[in-house]
């Protein structure tokens, strides 16, 4: 079709407004969830000992927990790791008599202990990593803010930023709600979501800017809607392929990458939605117009 169908654009505009309201509600809910639930911080941030072992499948979690608790004089969480006989043992404190040699600790239960992996992180390292992580998030946000305000006018950039904030807070709220472990890999995923969420918003913002310059007379809601429409099949294809591959990672990647792929999957999905909803509606609300993208005549004065 050569000409834009105005009534379909109108419908799209309505859909954008509706989804924006929905997105705002999600944001409020997300903040509430994070504030009330907090996070289940992983070993990377809290410090402690995590050991993954393979034992005889007949041994029960309660037995392991009792033996370990008795040895280390502290609560030891014993979590099943996917297959029978595979356990993740987590101590909160590094010292306080926790024996380093898990094989001898579990000796009363079985002789056949296979240690798959173990991590011991001192509390000060955890503290530092948490600080570094926060710093990374902040630094990335600031750099992106700088780049956006350099490339786009602030009204347009604010939409992309709100969308970005929306996506990150949503993923964080998911981890807060499910109490899935929040570790360094998840932090990396959140940072990657920062990048990808902007990806969609920028492609649409680029289009908005293009249409603004090309058709300065057009109503702003129609400009946004037509930009969304023009980029829609691109948005679907790219998000689709990325979701496919992240799903592949989720299915085949195994336990270590589970949290990462879930975070990425959610982030990319919500990022696609938000780039269409709040990403375009905020600049519209702030009344972005062709005025802001007029080419400034170069003055003759030196």
């Amino acid at each position: 079709m050569k000409f834009n169908n105005m009534s379909s654009l109108g419908k799209l505009t309505k859909a954008r407004y509706l989804s924006s309201v929905f997105s705002l509600l999600i944001m409020l809910a997300s903040v509430a969830i994070i504030v009330t639930n907090g996070f289940n911080w992983g070993l990377d941030f809290t410090g402690g000992i995590v050991t993954e072992v393979k034992l005889d499948p007949s041994i029960k979690a309660a037995q392991i927990s009792q033996v370990l608790g008795h040895d280390s004089k502290q609560e030891v969480s014993v979590i099943s790791a996917g297959e029978p006989g595979r356990w993740v043992l987590r101590y909160a404190k590094v010292d306080s008599g926790a024996s380093a040699d898990i094989q001898s600790v579990l000796a009363p239960l079985t002789d056949n202990v296979e240690v798959l992996n173990s991590s011991i992180v001192g509390p000060q390292i955890g503290q530092e990593l948490a600080e570094q992580g926060g710093l990374a998030l902040l630094a990335a946000m600031l750099c992106i803010l700088g780049y956006l305000s350099f490339r786009f006018e602030w009204r347009l950039a604010s939409g992309a930023l709100l969308a970005l904030f929306h996506d990150v807070i949503f993923v964080l709220a998911f981890f807060s709600l499910t109490q899935m472990e929040f570790n360094l890999t998840i932090l990396a995923a959140v940072l990657a979501i920062l990048g990808y969420s902007l990806n969609d918003s920028i492609v649409i913002a680029d289009r908005v800017r293009e249409v603004l310059i090309a058709k300065p007379k057009m109503a702003i809601d129609e400009i946004c809607s037509s930009a969304v429409k023009a980029t829609f099949s691109r948005t679907m294809v790219t998000s689709g392929t990325t979701l496919f591959t992240v799903a592949a990672l989720w299915i085949m990647g195994g336990t270590p990458l589970q949290g990462f792929s879930i975070a990425m999957f959610l982030g990319i999905m919500i990022g696609t939605i938000s780039s269409i909803s709040v990403g375009t509606c905020l600049p519209e609300y702030l009344k972005v117009s062709a005025e802001h993208y007029k080419v400034e005549p170069i003055s003759d004065a030196p």
Partner: protein, 604 residues
Amino acid sequence: MREQKQTTILNHYSAWKYVLLVVTITVMLFSALPTFFGEDAAVQIAPEAELNVNPLELHQLLISHGIDLKRIDQSNGQTTVILADNAQQTQLKTLLSQQVKDPSKLTLTLAPAAPNWLLSLGFNPIKLGLDLRGGVQFLLDVEIEPVYKLHNNAFIEAVRQFVRQDSLFGVSVKQQVDGRVQIQTADLTQRAAIREFINKQYPNWQISNAGDKSLQVALSEAEKLNIRDLTVKQNLQIMRSRIEQLGITEAVVQRQGEHRIRIELPGVQDPAAAKSVIGATASLAFYQVKQAGSVNAQTLKDEHGQAVYVARRPVLGGEHIVDARATLGEMGLPEVVIHLDREGGSMMSDFSRDNIGKPMATSYSEYSRDENGQIRQSTEVISVATIQSQLGDRFSITGAGNYAQAQELALLLRAGSMTAPVTIVEERTIGPSLGEENITNGFSALALGMGVTLLFMGLWYRRLGWVANVALMANMILIFGLMALIPGAVLTLPGIAGLVLTVGMAVDTNVLIFERIKDKLKEGRSFAHAIDRGFDSAFSTIVDANFTTMITAVVLYAIGNGPIQGFALTLGLGLLTSMFTGIFASRALINWAYGRNFSRNVKV
């Protein structure tokens, strides 16, 4: 003036661009290939180990013990036994240690499994992170405070001695809680005298007046930084030499941040053994050198294995050394200046007064635990020097060789004093089976993601889809090739996740271009013109969209730790290569295939 437009041909890339493209991808393909062959676990037997059987016998012996061998290589006296089953590496080393004179010269290593012609071109497999290979990682914290304290104590002692010598009554020297030294004097002349003494003897200390009759003295910030740097470097050096004893060729000992040391030991499964080596303590002692065959003498070996006869009891031990630094002496000759504490100074003074012109030996001992938990001591004479004059608490050793050797001696001397306690603050062990599981999982996810993406792009963009698919495959070749080429690049499990993400996102560049081409076709342009305009109009969007992800990749790399850096690396590299393949390579392909197609009703 002629217009630029007329001189350029639509959709035409000159021949050199095609040559560049083909050459780049071919080189990267060769660079990527060894990675797909993987690596085999191996044990290296150095010539000094003195293998007492010939390779043929060794082969039969190992097979009879159930070792699954791939081959045995021998070159320049060095024998490498390459395994077919990576899990048998430790077992193989134990078996081999019975067949050699010196088991400490056996090293665990990895041999690339790629054919020799490929390796001889200089290409090597990608280095795998510990989470994929299995192994132990330690993070050590070097405590600097005790070192400052030692410097402070020595300084206080020196000032007190000066006060006594010059009979300055009523002067008190006190250590303060904040690490500064408070000197309370009776009058201004005293203060001036002390000030002059400090300025002359301790130029690195900062003096400030506090009240009318007292001084506050502290190590200058620059000197503190210098001390910290030297201390960490010294510990780094000690750790390197200790890790060498473990016989792991790919071990990594690196400084991390201001006062941390990261040690990675691939292939090591037992952290306890590695810990005892890392936690070994060292000490240093000065001995009087005796005549060969003397009754009251013991023999120590020097670095060349030659015997040095020394007195049974040392003159003094390394615990008295406060500092040792290499400098260029008055004659321009390198020397090592040693700074002893007061007690050590008076002991050395007494000894040297009676032994001017005689040689003195310096020995370096290390105590470590062996596999059975027994403490083992190894002592080596690191220098023999002649005493020129009576020595005090500051003296220098010359004749240590060139400046680099003097620096090394200074390092060892400081190491012997072991003033900075090192604690293990992080320890991670990844079992070999888990490492292999991670590789299998990661790469099957990559294969699945890649397969689905290729299929989808082929079906969705029919005519242009194959271009995107070729670009995507070229992209993978480039990433793998670059990872293998970049020194220090390590593939980790999150790194594989980054690769999988790249597969999904790399097609974005092509999608953006193809959608633009579609738009232009809808506007009624011919295919060739649509291609030209499509690439042009998509370019700025592509750069904008990739740039923000690049920012996060850079931030992640800058502040992340090992595995996260691996993710940032593949993510960032993937962005760069996808721009190359998505814009440049696809354009080349499309120009070649459709560049002259001016028909108007094309469906893509």
